[in-house]
Amino acid sequence: MKKFVNDPKDYVSEMLEGLALANPDTLTYVPEYNLIMRADAPQDGKVSIVQGSGSGHEPAHVMSVGKGMLDAACPGDVFSAPPTDFVYETVKRVASPKGVLLLVNNYTGDRMAFEMAEELSQAEGVTVRTLFIDDDVAVQDSTYTVGRRGVAGNFFVMKAVGAAAERGADLDELYRIGENVNAVTRTMGMALTACTPPAKGSPLFELPDDSVEMGVGIHGEPGRKREKLQPADAMVGELVSAVVEDLPFVSGDSVALMVNGLGGTPIGELYLVYGRAHRQLTDIGIEIRRSYVGEYCTSLDMAGASVTLVRLDDEISELLAEPAEIAIRVF
């Protein structure tokens, strides 16, 4: 394993400490609960928005805390839902009179931790609602499974409800908006290489030099199928088709297109992927109104990318265009 890491058990806390040190004016860090929160939260006139999940997906979600997006993030260890207690303590600290909205990617561990924390918080009089995000089309929904997974599309839910919350929308309105965005958001990703969790110290799965994992999960879960490495156009084509067919997106739709890097793929390649995806979509009559290229939801050091489409209406377009001030900045 070649990583910047000391004791792997300290990986998450040392990362969070760095994040707090880099943003002393805007962020507060509570080490006992892996909690990163806006220094000015909670605010009486604004619903507080919280996202939690395993770590290893940075910048999601700890680096998305700030005006216009999250009020707090409470990550667990790498790829592990946070303990219930972390969520509960987080909700307590950002509880606003207008309520708290919890954004949770649809995984068993996260669901259970947040549901337990929601119950505990409600018992203490905090108004809480929990919204589950499940944009990953790699997993077909069925009664035998726990449904689709939440992946990079969560960014759009965060952004939209974050913007609406700044405008003063109430909790039910935010829930409606979040559900609405989730309903029109679809993602699929693929891995070129496996990722290496610091505590494991070796790759999470074996991926031969000539193979890719199509539909991989952001925790390295196997995807739809393993296939041969192909030129970019062919692989991007598969991703885009899978996403388009799922909703489905059709000619005449206006969309936001996100090409998200999974951690080990440089941004130059992501722009190449973006260009191919863009052309494929415009060729079938889909209009791209907003574009996003970079890392939004990663899987540690995995090389690979995901493609997300959001079908835009006026409300979503407007909310996505609002400003936000978060830790990730380039100037």
Binding site: G54, K200, P222
Partner: protein, 219 residues
């Protein structure tokens, strides 16, 4: 000569052995989870149970139910992933099953295990056959119950019961290999979860085996 009445010391021994097994098998359990899951199962369990071991002397062990609740709390507070809520719930329900008891016996052991299994079912919306730790825990509990209620004399001692639990859990855990996961992260892989045993079920078996192996040598 063994007795069917398990004392508070037996309970402490079992819990401590479970904790020690989780800590000692961090890497092995993690590797099992990496096959069709995300590899963190060993890490999650170890982080919680190492605190159980560290806090050991601080636990008030005089009342079985209180003792188990304290363990449950540590797990809920410190274990993330799916395992935190599931194992926390299991210990909490076990605590509830012996609420008014000062001493716990073989029948209480069965009651605690049954309560734990029911708690996991409820919390995880899961059941036998979903390829989870329930597929080791429930058969093990069934076997113990059958033995305890049949031979309601001193026929089976703690040591024999432990051995029975271990053998049943191991067989059941091995039996998860051909199953297709329907709950937990593994279920996302569909048919590709077939062919490897469920990490949670294996963990139950390994813990039971260690309890059996160390039951007598305790002296």
């Amino acid at each position: 000569m063994p007795t069917t009445s398990a004392s508070a010391a037996d309970l402490a021994f079992v819990v401590r052995t479970i904790a020690q097994t989780a800590v000692d098998n961090e890497a092995a359990f993690g590797d099992l989870d990496a096959v069709a899951g995300d590899g963190d199962f060993g890490y999650s369990l170890a982080r919680g149970f190492e605190i159980v071991l560290a806090d050991w002397d601080g636990f008030d062990q005089s009342v079985p139910s209180d003792f188990l609740r304290q363990v449950a709390l540590v797990i809920s507070k410190r274990v993330g992933g799916t395992s935190g809520p599931l194992w926390g719930t299991a210990f909490l329900r076990a605590s509830g099953a012996v609420r008014d008891r000062q001493e716990v016996g073989a029948a209480d052991a069965v009651a605690m295990l049954r309560a734990a299994a029911e708690g996991i079912k409820a919390r995880g919306k899961s059941d036998l056959g979903d390829k989870t730790l329930l597929d080791a825990l429930i058969p093990m509990t069934d076997a113990l119950e059958a033995c305890v209620s049949a031979g309601d004399g001193p026929a089976a001692g703690g040591s024999e019961l432990a051995a029975l639990a271990a053998a049943t859990a191991r067989k059941a855990a091995d039996g998860t290999t051909p199953m297709q996961a329907r709950r937990g992260r593994q279920s996302y892989t569909g048919e590709r979860s077939i062919g490897s045993p469920d990490p949670g079920a294996v963990a139950v078996a390994v813990m039971a085996e260690r309890v059996a192996a160390e039951w007598d040598p305790r002296g």
